[in-house]
């Protein structure tokens, strides 16, 4: 989680990722943030995030993002 939070904070230092659970629903992160984030996550964790993963439920909170990362790390 620490790793993830530092990535998130680098992209959007103004957002409280620890407490906020409506990042997408409240339009706090926009499509550009998502792209930058996905690029960072893909290269950092060596995973492939396809467009089909770009749904609100996967990105609404830091916890959700971590879950997505872990799921993709286990898949093939």
């Amino acid at each position: 989680m620490e790793e993830l939070l530092s990535i998130l904070e680098e992209i959007r230092p103004d957002v409280d990722f620890i407490n906020n659970e409506r990042l997408i629903d409240d339009k706090i992160l926009d499509s550009f943030d998502i792209i930058s984030l996905v690029g960072e996550l893909a290269s950092h964790y060596d995973i492939e995030i396809g467009v089909e993963n770009l749904v609100p439920v996967n990105f609404n909170s830091a916890a959700a993002i971590l879950e997505l990362v872990q799921k993709l790390q286990e898949s093939y």
């Binding site: 499509s31 792209i35 690029g39």
Partner: protein, 532 residues
Amino acid sequence: MSYTSGLFFIFLLTLIVVYFVVPKRFQWIVLLLGSYIFYLAANPVSALFLVVTTISVFYCARWIGKEEERFSREVSANAETLTREQKKHIRNKSRRKKKLILIGALILNFGILFSLKYFNFFANSTTYLFNILSIDATIPRLDLLLPLGISFYTFQSTGYLIDVFRGKVKPDENIAKFALFVSFFPQIVQGPIGRHDELAQQLYGSHEFDYTRAKFGLQLALWGLFKKMVIADRAAILVDEVFGNFAAYEGVTIFSGVFLYCVQIYGDFSGGIDISRGMAQIMGINLRENFKQPFFATSIADFWRRWHISLSEWMRDYIFYPLSLSHSFAALGKSTRRVFGSRLGKLIPIFLAQLITFLFVGIWHGANWTFVFFGLYNGLFIILGILTEQPLNRFKGRHNISLTGIGWRVVNVLITFVLVVIARYFSRAPDLVTALRMLKRTALTFFPIDISGGIFTEMGLNEKNLQLLVVVLLVLFLVELLQERGVQLREKIAKQHVLVRWAIYFIAVFSILIFGMYGINYVATDFIYMGF
């Protein structure tokens, strides 16, 4: 059948009655038949293209689905014996096969769209290029008929196919039901472009008649008719005059004319969408919103989240994301980060993807260089918006301007408004040269020397009609303002006393009947007896 014709009204009424009378399991069939009747009434021959798209996308989706099943079976049968690497290898092979199927279907369907819609544009431009290079050759123009709604149903079906490829939705099992998904008549003329996971179940499922829901749908459709027939068609008179004869007018008039063009397309497009959504709502089907008070946008990026939403979201999900998340763009990002530094470097691939996406948005609108320019213009301002975001925030911080205060918001809205109007010079002018000439004239002669005669008289609308136009624009602004603040107008009306409600309904209906721009123009002298 035009939405504003009596024939369509009869068609719709009959369809709705039949829809709620038949047994629930046949309701989708009623919609399918109705949609094909509607389509054949427009042009029977072009229905062939609709059928080709339906069949090709349906079977390719099934094929992809079958390949996915085969792949799952292969892996689970050998789950113990295969290593992660081996599983990855099999998956990639399967994915490549699915991708080939997908690409084949996309080439077929977009090929049809491109040929029919853009062939002449391509031919003309290439011929022009040949002329410049002194090559003596011409590519002939073809007299091609554009099937009704081809831009919309092609995008809706290919969106579905890509969703199947991505595993987001399961392929449809019933080709007749799928034919309904492709041809559903409230969407076919001008959208909204729907998504299978939102729409299919609604279309194929059964619906009970709900009086309140039907009332709301009717009200929405009425509002749409009002926007179309009273506002858009009235503004059109002035717009046609300005674009047809701009050299005779001063800058402020031209600019106002282009602003009225924005009003016209907004009224016509969103009005048509409201009619579509209203009709669908009566039948219990919820089509996605396509407009969210676009003229309250605070940036060009925000504008495209409020204007033709189904198109910009389609472009985002099926062009922008795939491009910007692709390996090539990721690789590009790595090198630009090296050259331009971390912040700017990682933005460049996004900018490029954005520009390409908006290039597509532009040419989707039409086969003309003006639309290419229109697309790039919008893409450019979005990029500019991103680049200036941080510097602007710092500026605001230094000068103590509240980021969320109303003053700042109004400034943004006004700037965006001007940018949007300028863009529209390009989407309405017949060619680039004319658009640029109009802009030049607007800038150079902005203030009229003499406004004693008023700036809009003698342009096709008499004084009373100009006054009416102002009044209905104010009404539109008011309604949009309420909607922007989250007021649910139809629910609010429903809470009023029956006399108030009915007064509103009658005013709405008779406003459309009386102030709508339709029918044979009343010209008093036509009726004067001239001695025979």
